[in-house]
Symmetry: C3
Subunit: 127 residues, 3 copies
């Protein structure tokens, strides 16, 4: 199995900064491309600003405005919106690694995007 990290979410929708957990796992890698993958269908992953938590709040609020819960969807498990948001954000990000460090922009952090929490989730990492 690939390297796996655990993510615990506390709300229905939430963005969790997993950058340091990913960094820890790739410390031994000198050089390459790292894929960070979400094996869930009601969660996604994205890279965005980590300095001001309002940025993540705005992303979650806008996604819920575009894809509100419980609006006559056909999927009847109450999480149709979560599935749609997962596809809008995507299931993986690719990040470069050099000298054992993730190559991120100054403001970039990697965020696990929970759209149907709270839950215990996994994220896979591979080079």
């Amino acid at each position: 199995m690939p390297i796996s990290i655990s993510v615990k979410t506390d709300s229905r929708t939430e963005m969790v900064n997993i950058t340091s957990s990913v960094q820890k796992e790739i410390a031994g890698v000198q050089d390459g491309i790292c894929v960070v993958y979400v094996p869930h269908t009601t969660a996604g992953i994205t890279i965005n600003e980590g300095a001001d938590p309002d940025v993540c709040d705005d992303i979650l609020t806008k996604l819920s405005e575009l894809v509100p819960p419980n609006r006559g969807y056909r999927h009847t498990e109450g999480n149709a919106d979560s599935h749609i948001k997962a596809s809008l954000m995507g299931s993986s990000v690719s990040v470069m690694v050099e000298n054992g460090r993730l190559v991120l922009g100054t403001w970039q952090k990697i965020f696990f995007c929970e759209f149907d929490g709270p839950r215990s989730r996994k994220v896979y990492i591979k080079f």
Copy 2:
């Protein structure tokens, strides 16, 4: 050329589960990352739930609600909406492979997303 699989679509918008076709092509790969790529500009690719077909219906319905066809777009070929949806879904997914098997979550399947069908399409696969 990379490995190529053919996808035949029957409607203007449609999500086609291509997981088993991709799995067949990567059977000889022991370990790595597989990129599944759509060489079209009015189609995309995503990973989402495969058990209940209503999930895909909801994704397609919501995309058409957010990006309706024929709404005063500048591109005059009648598929401006298809191009926009293609960028929202993305042109590739990255999936891990271990021991000749795609590493997917329990509910995850890979879907070719047709936004301007019906057509004969290609999907490229590379490790």
Copy 3:
């Protein structure tokens, strides 16, 4: 550091075709997968049609319609919309390379997506 190319943008929102710049950098690569990565949080990257510039105009117009600027966002730097659009488009694309050439579909070009310009930006490339 990875290979870096510079992109100069002239408007607040703009899509810049960077395909030939990327092609130039990968000319020596025989075979592989190339990740093109945006190290910014108010810009994204996508692959779409390059023949008719109206396609890009339609994408930018629709994104601004779905995520208008200055609509009561919590992030107060005036670019909350730019961050949200960045996550909708994504921070990287993966493209196959064979015999020193990007494997793109007939109409496909790689576009840097500026959402908070005009600015001087970077794009990273790695194999």
